[in-house]
Symmetry: C2
Amino acid sequence: MTSLDDVMALVAIDSVSGAEGDIATYVYDRLVASDRLEVERIGDNVIARTMGHHATRVLVAGHLDTVPGDVGAAVIEGDVLRGLGACDMKASLAGMLDLALDEENRPVEVTWVFYAREEIARSQSGLVEVSEVRPDLLVADVAVLAEPTGGLVEAGCQGTLRVKVTLKGVRAHTARPFTGRNAIHRLGDLLSFVATYLPREVEMDGVTYVEQLQAVGVEGGVAPNVVPDAASCVLNHRVAPDRSRDEAAAWLRGYLGELLGEGDDLEIVDWAPSATPDLTNHHLARLVQLSGNAPRAKVGWTDVATFQELGVPATNFGAGDPLLAHRSDEFVTAGEVATFVGVLGEWLRSSGH
Amino acid sequence: MTSLDDVMALVAIDSVSGAEGDIATYVYDRLVASDRLEVERIGDNVIARTMGHHATRVLVAGHLDTVPGDVGAAVIEGDVLRGLGACDMKASLAGMLDLALDEENRPVEVTWVFYAREEIARSQSGLVEVSEVRPDLLVADVAVLAEPTGGLVEAGCQGTLRVKVTLKGVRAHTARPFTGRNAIHRLGDLLSFVATYLPREVEMDGVTYVEQLQAVGVEGGVAPNVVPDAASCVLNHRVAPDRSRDEAAAWLRGYLGELLGEGDDLEIVDWAPSATPDLTNHHLARLVQLSGNAPRAKVGWTDVATFQELGVPATNFGAGDPLLAHRSDEFVTAGEVATFVGVLGEWLRSSGH
């Protein structure tokens, strides 16, 4: 049984994004001791596979890194472990390690993926690195991404689109603003409108995705006495899996409507694709059943989208409250860890059927 | 008679703010040739005074610098001189030089002030430099500041207040924005409200000041996937001469009202004081009469406020259309130069009465 001490052993190893060397070594050393696993290290990513002859291969993945913070402050108080990475996602990693080293016979082959640099730009992701260098290691029939989900299945994920909107104006002296057009004032109207956005809800496979639209950056200004002729904002749009990047951008352009005029610009800055819930996949449907809870939609972005791009049906299922991720007061309970390990272990035992 | 060639001689000397050495030397050399003037150079400022025994001393001032641009593109086409600084304010400077060197006897002492660095931060102003090093040189009964005013008196000047407004929010993940409060969205509402500002008009000494309120800068944003917890804007408020800095700031705070809440901040960044019109001063009233036009209020800020701080009643009167200042297509006409020199010369001839 995975204990909070097992989780603490991982929490105590500083593994901020880009500095996962120590924790990768720790995980590698533990896994390589098993003669049932073929273990590979690629950079700071560790992949361990059973290499038997079962027809079905399942993959379980988790990231080794945390957001920045102080690992020294971690503490166990009774049934609760408080500390950086406790929830996101070293509780799940500890459970994965225990299940990987479990001697029990399973009716499936299992690939365990511990990867680096998930919390920073996707272009630096360790999972993307593995998919480029050794795509064969990620081949599987189904995958579970053990991000914190509160012990239930959070299906698929929403895409995330960033656009930069630049509004034009006409420069003028601020003592005679009527000879110009203030681009920052125009931006005010656009931001006020964005603030009135009512989320679109989309039901797929019985779960409901809730889109969002938020301004995440704003800039503008020429000089202290000049009516500015340009101002811009960056909008982050969370997109349900029924829309592509271009469909989302087209919707946004239409939504802003006449707030955009001649000479204004809407530029796509960034896009990470969504993933459909795939709850009709019989492996994932069984995971939902074993979890004992109704599934819900993952409204954030996760590497479930990366697995779906690789052709592997996948879902999110892990220990810890997802709302605590990246918070300074994150924690995980012994009960959450036990539930995760129990459900995932049972899923592996029954996945060959 | 001052010609466009005289103006061109000054326009041709590059004198962007901070690099007025050459034009100060040119002006100094011309003035020092007159045995009727006592000429001093303080840094790149040149002050020439008649030192007779008339009871009244009038002061005429103009700045030597221009905003950045290419002096090589200046050209005379018929009665029009187009080029950097033609309007703001080398036409007036050329007229001042001619009147300073005129041999005619006047019933007043005259101080001619040619100063540096007016177009940049007031803390760097050459006029402020002279007032600190040799305040005696600026003692006068009345002053004319020869900024472009279209050949009529533009009385006093409005103050200019800059405030930075910072709005707070609560950070959250952009996929779950309802757990936070978006400070940029709040800023949108504030900017939209500022855009609805209706100018307050204030009549003093028969001229009407028109206040303004404009956003001149905006910034905010934490990270691409974070609902931002702070955003700010800089507002520029043009303030009629009936209000002090603190009165203007108090008005602005009240105007924004409930758009500012707990934890928000309104900080005064900068203030340049206004100047009252002083059109009841008999010297300035006579200048209005000689101009042949009704006076109007100066809605921008000028060094008339500096003279008023020094205890010298002052007004704006110069050649060129003030709306052309700082524009790439600025120009001045031979007629505008002649009118300015004619009116100012007549004013000096009659100022002893």
